[in-house]
Point group: D2
Chain length 297, copies 4
């Protein structure tokens, strides 16, 4: 990232009033500093409060020195996959509620963006996962994910059966609603709802967390992020699953279908305001440390 | 149920070889005792080993004194909803692996069926749940369930938000994959995979078990089976859910849609072989009591 | 309870400044209304701000029309066992943090106590559990509990093995740190930390929640409160356990020792301020309903 | 380890008949191969079936080329701390039930011991943890552990409050029964009963798993094994905790007391029979992969 940054890409749902507020604050500020702003053509924008250029969605990161994601963690996940192509650094501004990934509070927007433009933010490099679906005849479908890659049953009342293989070695046959393969970053997202552990974000590990597993001892397992994970849907013809990367559907798996998850060659660089403390973020998001003094035991 | 029973309805996937084996065993035996056998027209049957009459699916329990479900618990759940119309008693024969509901082992088929025909089985009356979806304009869609009624997100990467109301009082707003409303009978099925408790089957309670809830303190709750449960999907237009009764899709709920769950007026009567012991069944199904002597603490 | 109530017993740690504040507020108020206040001789009290009589701990409820517990839920649990002898109603005033049982907020103390004296509070009758330890030779040790009765290992690194029996029928052999037998009232206390469900307080059920069980399928089970629960410690001579009722040690169990838990003949009557809503209390205590809108799935 | 190994140390409870059987098998066999056997003076031994030398407990590994632990995982944990002084390799023979650490089956004893003596076993180096209790005035108490280091409340009905610090940074304040700090090796022991994940044994991570935590979002966390973990008991005078290393009590912590956990400089080398497969061991120990085909969803 060249400093000072001259071109910013904005990502978000600009019709959300709280997002619009931050946009309205930033556009004139960035104009006054001579920083150009890019916005995807596909995103509806309300009455502009400052200048910006419209570019193609896929081209948004081609010229940008910095991506500013405004919204919730979902917005940042989307931006991360765009930014990954050139590893443009990402700043996440939340709409009032702290996110795990969008950790600039609305009142700190100007100061944090200025710091980012000057290259004074804390850099936080996070690995990306890559899901690849075998579609037969040498074809495959692939996608990146910062948080997690999920195999889930298609909406029916039935469980799916599938096998997990780690580096070519058979791990287990599972029955249930599916499985989450989460990065350390994603350990506090869907995997946490499935009983997975919190993982310090600098660790090179993956969490495999079965979703509502039929077998009660089918517990989350932590493996090396250098592993190649293969998930094979059972051969039963009625079995069908869906693969979801960071909340976006990648494709379907039919009975006998296979998906692999590996570390992607790309990474993402998050920018944090000064004094970033992951543990403080955890305490805040998980409501830790409240009122342990008064209880009935 | 009149004794001795003269007419049996068979329910199962007769093309499954293990089910076929039990059918082949039972047909000549029942013929020799002068017991008539009814089978749904809709079910494919392989080379018969004895006489039976084909009747319409919905009519299968109209004349029967006894329903014999052969297969897994899924087969018995299906049979239970048929049997509920006239509360015809149900005998569940498993295909080799003990089920929570199909507890006649293949080697005990003849003896258990004979005991059932003579009216010497243990009677075990179980309540049924009724799900009702409000479809607007006074219309509704309803279904019975022995195990559970599930609201689940339609296959997307997104969570659904919904409110729970108990007897008209607001309980909570949930975000996650959905919620299971289970009878005591169903507490060992899907609800158990969602962290719900095991409930003794004679208790008049329901379990509400959130599925992969976003909030970690959103835990299963046990309420009176006399309660009326209402579940309201959030108003967001993109929100869509699906309602599943005992594994069979009942219908969809759009944003703002409502579902109620109550005790049904109907009940189901399960027949058990002599010496039925629910706790022994639990121990067997949950692999309890194995090898606690040797561990590393 | 005769109305208007003329005699109140105070229970609490009066040396805690926040408790002292409520006492200082109440004593002159009650004196002005001609209500007599009793305090246990055993409790240290700081400079009094109004008149009260000192009585023996065990006699505290003999004359009182109303027991006012000031402090946390632990204080109310203690008061409940005193009050149970004559079923004197109990009002629980918390020290600033809402409890499951102490639900009068400090700012509402005067109004709530006045309402209680006039007999205008909501009555909420809760069952009590009784633990009984067999000590051999016909001797036994017994105690009441409002929340829970716990068998736990004595402080060593080793697990304990024990059997559970329900109404004389064998349930399971457990290995782990022990087991919590909780009333519906106690379902939100220790049992919840052990993975037990929340139970609506009006249900006649008990929760048996194993503590850190060795076997992953050894899950909480809900049984009828009319059941007699027996817990038998394994015969191994080195096995020793401790029985704790509502946080107070009742006694020890040696290898082969037995404990029974039943519903006690006594009950406890909690008084609630008007508009008491158990579900609202749950939402407040469990931080439900916060910020489900913003997440990274 | 010099090959062929000439001196073996035996560790186990030799009065256990199943252990005695393996001893009776091994002593003459080893004698016939000219291998000397050492047994601790402190261990009661029944009628010997072959020659062995008695040595001091602490000296048992000083001369040995190989330690053979016979019994359960607890026996191997004990042997591991002895063996760690000189990193003498360890072979674990179980008494009939496969352990996570004792993976030589009784029928394979001779073949596995012969392979170990010849240096043909699979070597599996595992890190050790070191717990250190600050006792004031510069004094400290320390111990090694292969599986886990546990801070637990002393037997009372009360919870303990404590803080966790990772590399000098504050993580959280916990209330509950205590906390397990487990190595990857220990992730399948006590930590698993506390809701911790399974961790592949080659990963350089620790699991911090709170024991029956009061706060439901107080979930297990995975951190780097290079971290220094500090646990500080709250200052309240009545608070007292106990520190347990691999099931053996190390000492007590009073209110305000501190414990640190780090990777120890020593390691342990486990020997496995050929074809060792950790995932197969997991499947066997956790009863995975049984009967997922038949269920009631």
């Amino acid at each position: 990232m060249p400093f000072p940054a001259r071109i910013c890409a904005f990502v978000g749902r600009f019709t959300d009033p709280r997002v619009g507020e931050s946009v309205a604050l930033l556009l004139p500020h960035l104009a006054s500093r001579g920083v150009e702003v890019l916005v995807s053509e596909e995103v509806p924008v309300q009455a502009a409060t400052g200048p910006y250029a419209r570019v193609e969605e896929r081209a948004i990161v081609e010229r940008a020195d910095l991506v500013i994601a405004i919204g919730g963690d979902g917005t940042l996940l989307y931006a991360a996959r765009l930014a990954a192509r050139r590893d443009v650094p990402l700043l996440g501004i939340n709409r009032g509620r702290l996110g795990f990934l969008t950790d600039v509070m609305p009142q700190d927007v100007i100061a944090s963006v200025d710091a980012a433009l000057r290259g004074e933010s804390e850099l936080d490099r996070r690995p990306l996962l890559e899901a690849r679906l075998q579609l037969g005849a040498g074809e495959a479908q692939a996608s990146l994910a910062l948080n997690d890659i999920v195999l889930q049953r298609l909406a029916t009342g039935r469980m799916i059966d599938f096998e997990t293989w780690i580096d070519g070695r058979y791990l287990n046959t599972h029955a249930g609603d599916g499985i989450v393969v989460a990065s350390a970053t994603g350990s506090t997202a869907y995997a946490l709802s499935c009983g997975g552990p919190i993982v310090a974000p600098n660790l090179d590990v993956l969490v495999l967390a079965p979703i509502s597993p039929h077998t009660l001892s089918d517990r989350p397992i932590v493996v090396s992020a250098r592993s190649s994970i293969e998930i094979r849907l059972s051969e039963r013809p009625e079995t069908r699953g869906q693969v979801v990367c960071d909340g976006t559907v990648l494709g379907e798996l039919a009975g006998g279908g296979r998906m692999t998850v590996r570390l992607a060659p790309q990474t993402v660089t998050l920018l944090h305001p000064g004094g970033y403390d992951y543990y403080r973020l955890l305490r805040s998001k998980l409501h830790w440390g409240r009122g342990s003094a008064d209880h009935s035991r």
